[in-house]
């Protein structure tokens, strides 16, 4: 057994979490360095793994050597290889970027937080790497439990209720998924994804399989906050501790989109989802509504964090719609957008975290003069915002390009218009913030700009600023090299699953 990276990716953070718990009775100062070390190794492993997949094709890993369908199998192809890299890199960068904010917000509970953080990351990585449907459920619940607990550590007045809401909907979603997996197990006698995929074609007409599919999808949609199942998301993310919302906002929903794509294209298969069911037009319509609803709800917000959470709801619509259009351009756009949206959202929340480190309250009125006070943080924020709007050369443009092409190819003009319209609303949303931040507070009775009180420079600490700038530069780099990413990672995967 020479190639152990797949197992390492899960085992390292889990063991680190256990060691950290033990350190609670020992040298507490070692907890943070241990976390950083663990996630660094994990991140490096994911890249090695992705390189392996790009070079030699999908990797099969059997836990303890047990063959599938009995043993637990990990299967890494280009899709989850990519998502693994996204998860591990964002987890690591956020861990570094959030050191100061964890200190500030969770003074007494930092060690507990880091343990939860590691468990959360383990769960996400596990969900992505596993080739087993039940295993996926277990790891999903590890992720969710760690998330509920982290959210409840946030704003003392509001986060407990927000977390409880999330628990309710999260548990309902997970139950639906589990029921769906149960039906599949009854019909196929297997939990292994590849195994099920090979058995299912003979069962396409079965009503139980249809029920399984619908239950799995509804469960996944509740977890990814597809409108109108999104109600838990805005409060949960807005009131969570900074360090948590910075990792959940970009990753949680995107990982669930990954699960959806995996179920649709690798487990049930295109033939079933698009030929047998013929649901795709309705789902794309639902996704278009989600895009617009998220955008309009974002317009109604007066608090920056809340606004961003509704933008996530809108972006989920992009991803669901793209996956359900069912052609290769749209799926390419969706997979690319998983990467891009994770980075953009991460960048936005990094910037917002820096702001709340200095400002406490991110109501729009508090943001005046922010360009003078925090120029570098704002630079990162502007890049991320521009990327969400979809202006080249930032990465958001390129995935939107594929999504629009896909909509055009499918002749789905509702989705096309929803995309264009939401880009316009996003432009309004972000430029409204830029405008507020560009202008200094205006005192009534003054008619000339030159006498405004100038804001004083007050940037976030370097440990928060450098990660932000790095990720912002990443938005440009990923945008400029998106041709390469598509050629080497996305297109081979897409051509493998789309006939």
């Amino acid at each position: 057994m020479s190639f152990q990276y797949p197992a390492l990716i899960i085992i390292i953070p889990v063991l680190a979490a256990v060691f950290c718990s033990a350190l609670m009775w020992g040298n507490r100062r070692l907890v943070y360095p241990l976390c950083v070390l663990a996630l660094t190794v994990t991140a490096l492993s994911t890249f090695v793994l992705l390189a392996e997949v790009i070079q030699f094709g999908p990797v099969d890993y059997r836990m303890a050597g047990w063959p599938p369908p009995w043993g637990i199998q990990m299967r890494i192809d280009l899709l989850n290889g990519l998502v693994l890299c996204i998860v591990s890199v964002i987890a690591l960068v956020n861990l570094i970027a959030s050191f100061r904010s964890v200190e500030q917000e969770l003074a007494e509970k930092t060690d507990t937080f880091y343990i939860l953080y590691l468990l959360f990351v383990t769960g996400l990585l596990g969900v992505v790497i596993t080739g087993d449907l039940f295993n996926l459920y277990v790891l999903l619940e590890v992720t969710s439990l760690a998330a509920y607990a982290q959210i409840a550590m946030g704003d003392p007045d509001r986060s407990p209720v927000a977390s409880l809401n999330y628990v309710f909907l999260g548990v309902i979603g997970a139950s639906f998924y589990l029921l769906g997996v149960g039906y599949l197990y009854i019909k196929t006698g297997s939990l292994n994804m590849m195994d099920i995929a090979s058995i299912l074609p003979s069962l396409y007409s079965s009503l139980a399989v249809f029920t399984a599919f619908v239950f799995c999808m509804v469960g996944v949609w509740a977890k990814m906050a597809l409108f109108p199942l999104h109600v838990w998301l805005p409060n949960a993310y807005a009131y969570a501790p900074t360090a948590s919302n910075r990792i959940m906002a970009p990753l949680m929903t995107k990982v669930m989109v990954y699960v959806m794509i995996r179920l649709m294209f690798s487990v049930f298969g295109m033939d079933y989802v698009f030929e047998e069911l013929a649901l795709s037009e309705h789902i794309v319509l639902l996704a278009s509504i989600a895009i617009l609803a998220g955008a309009v709800l974002a317009l109604a917000q007066k608090d920056l964090k809340k606004m961003l959470t509704y933008i996530i709801v809108s972006e989920i619509g992009y991803l669901v719609g793209g996956a359900w259009l069912g052609n290769s351009a749209a799926l390419t756009g969706t997979v690319l957008h998983v990467l891009n949206d994770a980075l953009m959202t991460f960048c936005l929340f990094l910037a917002v975290g820096n702001m709340s480190y200095k400002l406490k309250n991110l109501h729009f009125d508090n943001l005046q003069g922010l360009f003078s006070r925090m120029p570098l943080t704002m630079a990162g924020f502007v890049l991320a915002g521009v990327s969400i709007v979809g202006i080249p050369p930032t990465c958001g443009f390129f995935s939107k390009w594929f999504l629009l092409s896909g909509a055009l190819e499918a002749g789905n003009y509702v989705f096309l218009l929803a995309l264009v319209f939401s880009s316009l609303i996003n432009a309004v949303l972000f430029f409204r913030i830029f405008e507020i931040c560009f202008f200094e507070p205006m005192h009534s009775g003054e008619d000339h700009a030159h006498e405004h009180s100038r804001s004083v420079l007050s940037e976030a600490p370097a440990s928060m600023l450098l990660p932000l700038l790095l990720v912002a530069a990443g938005l440009l780099a990923v945008g400029l090299y998106s041709g390469m990413i598509v050629d080497h990672v996305v297109a081979p995967f897409v051509s493998g699953v789309v006939a």
Binding site: G390, L404, L416, V420, S423, A427, F431, E435
Partner: protein
């Protein structure tokens, strides 16, 4: 057409981008900062000029930076049309930098480092548009230009600046995202490429209806060209400091809009397709309406910069009209008007700014008798006016002459009448300003009896551009050759 791979166009774009960190780091030392700006301008201009001989020999310089999908890349291509625009924009940036230094210091404006930094960014984007090889690259630089101009428009950071900045973004970004972006993707799905071709890329790819809709989406989507009814951002943007109005809102930004439309008309649709579909004349008549209405509104303006803004709106449509005539002479007249109008209009704005710095006046009614105090400025204003009206001995005559010939060639009598009527209207709103400046009795306070001109850093640039306007009447050869090369 022979193509040479050369990295020079990239450097020409980057020259003004890379100077920005230097500008920020020397923000405490204004002389050094402005020195760097001017140096960057000179380097940029030299880079552009260094590519001129190859272009004049009929070669094109290409450089692919990133390939996105086949046919869509971030790619530069220097052809004669792009060269013409880049020459004008990069040269005028040097002049404007000198002028800006004088103007911003004269008025003790705040945030001067921000001003010079975003100005440099805007110029990078402008040259980027000029050297774009395909629609995607052009769109990218177009959007960067929109974003970099916002802090310049909203420079004063007061309530008026906020309103104007907002209007600016709504018009420019709204149209580019709502109209250009979708039509670009439709275009790619039809043709499989976005490279500008010498005969266009859309011929035979879609039904006339689809092509017609696409064309209108493009023409109105590039709202920087200020075709009515999408012109209202331009007068609002006059709230910016005058150097911004002068270089960006008389040359760089607005002509990027016009240039983009020309690229779409010639490189995406192609002249033959447009004449086959009879779409050229439709665009021509839309432009004609803007020409007339713009001129008529300009007459009633009292604020000098607003008058110049409406005049610009009208003049931009001359360029589009010329190209939309689809005749060689019309094209020549239209495209060379980019150059002639640039030098004429920037002179006029420089004069307006010089008057502002020296006397603080911005309304025409306050400028009676001012010409006796500021003879050089008013003389330059007179020359600029002549060029915009289209009278000899200024360059403007040359472009108007060819526009008239072009409309005769296209047998479009109504358009010919519009051109003549508008030139008359131009005279009606420009010449009284000059006449009253020199000959009317002073009845406004603050006009000193003696000679008192603007600071020399404001005065020399406007004298230079005025002289070049005259010079272009005698030596338009370089630009004419470039345009004739582009027409093959």
């Amino acid at each position: 057409m022979e193509q040479i791979i050369s990295i020079k166009p990239l450097f020409a774009v980057l020259a003004s981008l890379l100077v920005i960190p230097v500008l920020i780091s020397s923000s405490e030392k204004p002389n050094i900062r402005e020195g760097w700006t001017i140096l960057a301008g000179i380097i940029k201009f030299s880079l552009v000029v260094s590519m001129l001989p190859a272009v004049l020999q009929g070669q094109q310089l290409v450089y692919t930076l990133f390939t996105f999908v086949p046919g869509v890349a971030i790619k530069f291509r220097v052809d004669s049309l792009g060269m013409l625009f880049a020459l004008v924009a990069s040269f005028l940036w040097i002049v404007t930098s000198i002028y800006s230094a004088g103007y911003m210091r004269g008025l003790k404006e705040h945030a001067q480092t921000r001003f010079f930094s975003f100005f440099a960014l805007a110029l990078s984007a402008t040259i980027g548009v000029a050297f774009s090889a395909n629609l995607l690259t052009l769109y990218m630089f177009y959007e960067i230009l929109s974003l970099s101009t916002y802090p310049l428009v909203a420079h004063h950071q007061d309530e008026e600046a906020r309103k104007s900045g907002r209007k600016y973004l709504i018009y420019i970004l709204g149209t580019s995202i709502g109209l250009v972006l979708p039509s670009m993707i439709v275009c790619y799905n039809l043709a499989g490429t976005l490279e500008f071709g010498s005969q266009g890329i859309l011929a035979g790819q879609a039904s006339p209806t689809v092509l017609g809709i696409l064309l209108f989406m493009f023409v109105f989507g590039f709202a920087k060209a200020a075709i009515m009814p999408l012109h209202a951002w331009l007068p609002a943007a006059m709230v910016a400091p005058t150097p911004v109005s002068a270089l960006l809102h008389a040359v760089a930004v607005v002509k990027v809009g016009v240039f983009s439309i020309i690229r779409v008309l010639t490189g995406i649709f192609g002249i033959e397709l447009l004449s086959a579909l009879n779409l050229g004349h439709v665009i021509g008549y839309i432009a004609a309406i803007t020409i007339l209405v713009g001129s008529l509104i300009a007459i009633s303006q009292n604020e000098l910069k607003r008058l110049l803004a409406f005049s610009t709106i009208s003049q931009l449509s001359y360029i589009i009209l010329g190209v939309a005539l689809l005749t060689p002479k019309g094209q020549l007249g239209g495209i060379i008007h980019i150059v002639m109008h640039a030098f004429g209009k920037i002179t006029l704005f420089f004069c307006a700014g010089a008057i502002m710095v020296t006397t603080g006046k911005k309304y025409i009614s306050q400028m009676h008798g001012l010409g006796r105090q500021m003879p050089v400025t008013f003389l330059a204003f007179f020359i600029g006016s002549l060029s915009v009206i289209g009278l000899p001995p200024t360059g403007g005559f040359y472009s108007k002459w060819y526009l008239v010939l072009g409309s005769l060639q296209a047998e479009q009598l109504p358009l010919l009448l519009v051109l003549l009527a508008s030139s008359f209207l131009n005279a009606v709103y420009f010449l009284p300003v000059v006449f009253k400046g020199f000959f009317a009795p002073v009845y406004s306070q603050g006009v000193k009896p003696g000679y008192s001109e603007a600071p020399s850093m404001c005065l020399y640039p406007l004298a230079i551009t005025a002289l070049i306007s005259v010079g272009l009447f005698f030596y338009p050869d370089l630009f004419r050759d470039l345009i004739q090369l582009s027409m093959g």
